[in-house]
């Protein structure tokens, strides 16, 4: 893909260049290379992953968090000026050919109904605010002792077995169910007193705990959706209003890296049995593509592998966490279900936080 990639820095990532880094101890203990695949705690047939953590009791507790009757919508705007991961497309058009898209004969000649449609071509589950289904990240295993070669999704499903040109045969978002549960905001940017954390900044458990304490809320509980705010999406929040030069520069900066979470934070979420981690950056983990060799190679893809692929805990990227930050809404009912895009790798979304 490298030769078609459209942003130079992130292209390193997209091109799949190996850096020769050795697995450190934290990774080694999760390393599947010498063992059987990590089985899902929800059973060999499970395709729903961590939404299994959300019980009726959990839902009844979550609605108690709605105290003011306020809501925030947590999706960013989708449009043709979105920053996109290299190689992806987002193209919205309005078919018309000079007039309405279609017409309804109605009530005589001078009073008719007409309609507009839109046509979108996009990696719709992997553009802008995006939910990664269990069919998105894989761990590629070659030469393992007891594991057949292949690209492994959650629960031992291999691309070689479930891949299909018009939608994967398993693990698509149609299997997820819903997130109707306690949501919490970990507002690291606010706790640090900055508009945005810096590119490459690694959010540690110390940061996580400092925010928890400052906010006065309880730690992650089973089934929670955990939202961590970096401020990084500020770079494109307003790009519909900007000049093209500004948009180009901001999108390039946005794609050139990001602040993100340390492996230990994802380990904490896994141990706490969170159902989802959502952030306001493009890819969860910290990156700074200008630094080579990357100092943060241990964190690359760590949460994708250890949350999604191994445990079925979901990720949601490019969320809009500004309003709940402004409202200091740290605990809320999180209500959302992905589109039932059969065999897709993700879903766009606009979740509701109610508080």
């Amino acid at each position: 893909m490298g030769r078609f990639s459209s942003t130079s820095a992130i292209a390193l990532l997209a091109a799949g260049l190996a850096f020769g880094a050795q697995p450190g101890p934290a990774v080694a203990e999760n390393n599947p290379v010498d063992e059987k695949w990590w089985p899902s705690e929800f059973g060999a047939e499970d395709q729903a992953g961590a939404t299994n953590y959300i019980t009726p009791e959990k839902r009844l507790e979550a609605v108690q968090l709605v105290k003011q009757g306020k809501v925030a919508t947590l999706g960013m705007q989708y449009h043709n000026r979105l920053p996109l991961f290299p190689g992806r497309t987002f193209a919205l058009s309005i078919p018309g050919g000079g007039g309405p898209t279609h017409n309804l004969p109605w009530k005589g000649d001078n009073f008719r109904q007409t309609f507009m449609d839109e046509l979108v071509t996009a990696e719709i589950g992997q553009a802008g605010t995006q939910f990664d289904s269990l069919a998105h990240p894989m761990i590629k295993v070659t030469g393992a002792k007891d594991l057949e070669d292949g690209n492994y999704f959650y629960n031992g499903h291999r691309l070689e077995d479930i891949g299909s040109p018009r939608g994967l045969s398993k693990l698509g978002p149609e299997n997820v169910g819903s997130f109707f549960t306690r949501g919490i905001l970990i507002d690291v940017a606010a706790q640090k007193g900055v508009d945005s954390l810096e590119k490459g900044y690694v959010i540690t458990m110390d940061d996580f705990n400092a925010a928890l304490e400052a906010q006065g809320i309880e730690d992650v509980k089973q089934g929670d959706v955990v939202l961590i705010r970096t401020g990084w999406n500020n770079l494109w929040r307003d790009n519909l209003e900007k000049s093209q030069d500004d948009v180009s520069a901001d999108n390039a900066e946005f794609n050139s890296g990001e602040p993100g979470v340390a492996p230990e934070v994802c380990d904490h979420l896994a141990e706490s049995k969170a159902s989802m981690l959502g952030m306001d950056n493009w890819g969860i983990e910290p990156y700074d593509f200008a630094v080579e060799p990357p100092s943060d190679i241990e964190s690359w893809g760590y949460c994708h592998a250890n949350l999604v692929t191994r445990r079925g805990i979901y990720l949601m990227e490019n969320m809009d966490l500004k309003q709940i930050s402004d409202d200091q809404a740290y605990e809320f009912l999180f209500a959302w279900a992905p589109l039932k895009l059969v065999g897709a790798t993700g879903s766009p979304g606009n979740p509701i936080a109610a508080y």
Copy 2:
């Protein structure tokens, strides 16, 4: 568009043939031809429409409806076998070229991360489960006394003024906000004891009231989302599992007409200040394209014009109402927000009913 339409019966509708029907009295009193445009009750600048009816108090009442901790997701599955309105496309592919869509260099040579994406080309806001934004239906006015010619959307916006090839400049779903409110199910199919109402069946206020009474719930209140079940979507609920011949026949039958609601039902929703009407058919109003001249011409497009265009009350089509019918969940918290597709004409969706 007629010559490209892909289903013969519904093509009459798509082709925009005039039938010469005269406006009857119920329509005449809403007829804008001889008067000024119907101004929005939410002000001349409003682009949000009937979500304005949903107040903080309303939201706090709505969460009280969650009693069992159960949820249902109300979206149908999206895939390449969807029945589509003539001329529309839904094409999901998995780019790969024989392998993963992209790769992440990670942890040495025999342990890497790989990823799949999906690529969708679709009238994404007007395919399958679809929410009509205020930028979808228009009333075309020509030769009116005090009204400039044009295709009028909600609140007097004309296509001629806000049309744009890459997204309309006003009224897109990014302006809607959210539906976090009381939802009610009017289960007409269950009340009639049928799997599905017949094509062309007109749901009257008598039907509506009979269902209300049988279900033992209160009538529509301001800000409610009202879901009316016909059973018509049963024709494609299972079409991923069917042979192609069965899918083709069922989709053709699905598109050949539908049961729907009488004008008086939409008038009732308008008077009650509902925020949305959702149904499990493709287009809200009743049609039977085999009957010519159509006996139901008075109802064609009535709700689109009188709810969406004139009052900003939203419509949602092709919803999946089976589970809430099975669960006899007649009152619930309805939680959903459309995708912020800037300048689009609608949004796909998978709303949550919690009860």
Copy 3:
């Protein structure tokens, strides 16, 4: 892909079901399973294939065939009513949003330039009139003695090596060059006195030679483009003018099989060093999907494998051969070059025959 296929009969083919047929002798001698890959006669680095047969001398001879100054264009019309192979899309829209796609400020207020564009989503190299590049058909080899497992394209390139999600890294139509050479028409339908050969009809060398003789032209020479007419495309030639019901029925019939050429005809073209075989059916070889087990299994894919994959001799499908048949133009200058779609698997086209 089977569960998304859109035409029942051809779905057998698309679904990739194995029929357990054994290789017969004609195939066995070409069978790569027990031997090294068939090397290209044009060298190990070659990506151009049989256009190498077309020399400057050949071109100078070919222009001598233009005697009347007449031309025919050999492409069918592309539009949203095309018959498509299961799973493929052809969707043309005109973005406008109610007006022109874009504008040019020009010459004051009452005299401006405006423009329309079209937006197409399609397997553009594999829809309607289509040229198969060397990156389209593969032979999948597993368990061969001296050959690594994989999907093999022309000249030993494997999908596993040159696959890429945004265009294959070798063998795309940008490498083909051009066809400016002698073209001949083998008008089997005319020689048989029928509008169209029947579905499943197998064109033999006897048929081929009978047509040659009746037409009074010389046999295939090195570098020639050979066009064989079956009449099968008559089923969709006029479908822009037809009712939707007729289009649906005709497209289904078109996809349910086709007349095509016997292996011996393709062997003859290979020995004669033709540069391309073009036909007016969808897939070159004969099929009748209603017959099971298929009587013609030996011919399935034979020409794709033995012409394209093994020898780099090109195929072009869904050509419009009606005018040259009507004109009895059996020998002509064939002038055409595929679009330089980098890394694509084919190209649309509208070749010129000049005579």
Copy 4:
């Protein structure tokens, strides 16, 4: 479209800002504002335009120009790194989902056929090497004395009459026929001794005649295809091989303006009854978007209006004229026909020059 445009300089053009320039005399005499629409010399029903100039005799003369048996293909490469006019898309993907796009059951278990397809979403007739059909440029007329308001295409067809969301009902490239005729190269860049003319450079009749003289060929004759080389496409000829930063910078420079032809050159081609003007820039006329107010406003869109819209003389942009320049091939057979994309506004292409 302005708010979605993706290149700042060219956005002025795309946004349709008026500059208040007054029509000068050369334009005024062509100005349709006060007169009837310019009727086609080929009759009121004509949709083919200037290919009518190409007679059988012309074709027979043209083949005499093939003397060496050499060919050049005149299309640039199409890929995801193309420079695009603001708002347009070119996205090629290879559907596979981890393996081949589809399979053919064949010859037992260890010897099967498999296939790859490509999926393209693009303004396919208006991206890269592009032929403008008569359905692309319009003159918008408002308030003219004897002419109804509207966007006028060739031969008096208005967008308001022939517009349609899935393809215009007239003037698409399916009506063009073919260009099999004398082609001439006017190599202005070579005559000036430069790799590329400068942005905004206006090619005059003096330049045109100087090149003709230097090249020793006869002037334009009826039916000729005239190709004028500027060198401007050098900016993206090699961008598949470049780093992303270089591609971005070069594409931005490419879109920021171009050398082009003066109105007098287009007048000369019109008088000479050429069938097509092809160039190696993106838009025929000269632009330099950094100069404001533009000094060349008289030339903006002049050829589009006066060749295509008024006379049906075609334009082809982004052609690759390097090889014929290198070969000093100034006279040749030009052989090409656009794709029969019904109702489209243009066509991609890869014409052949044979000499």
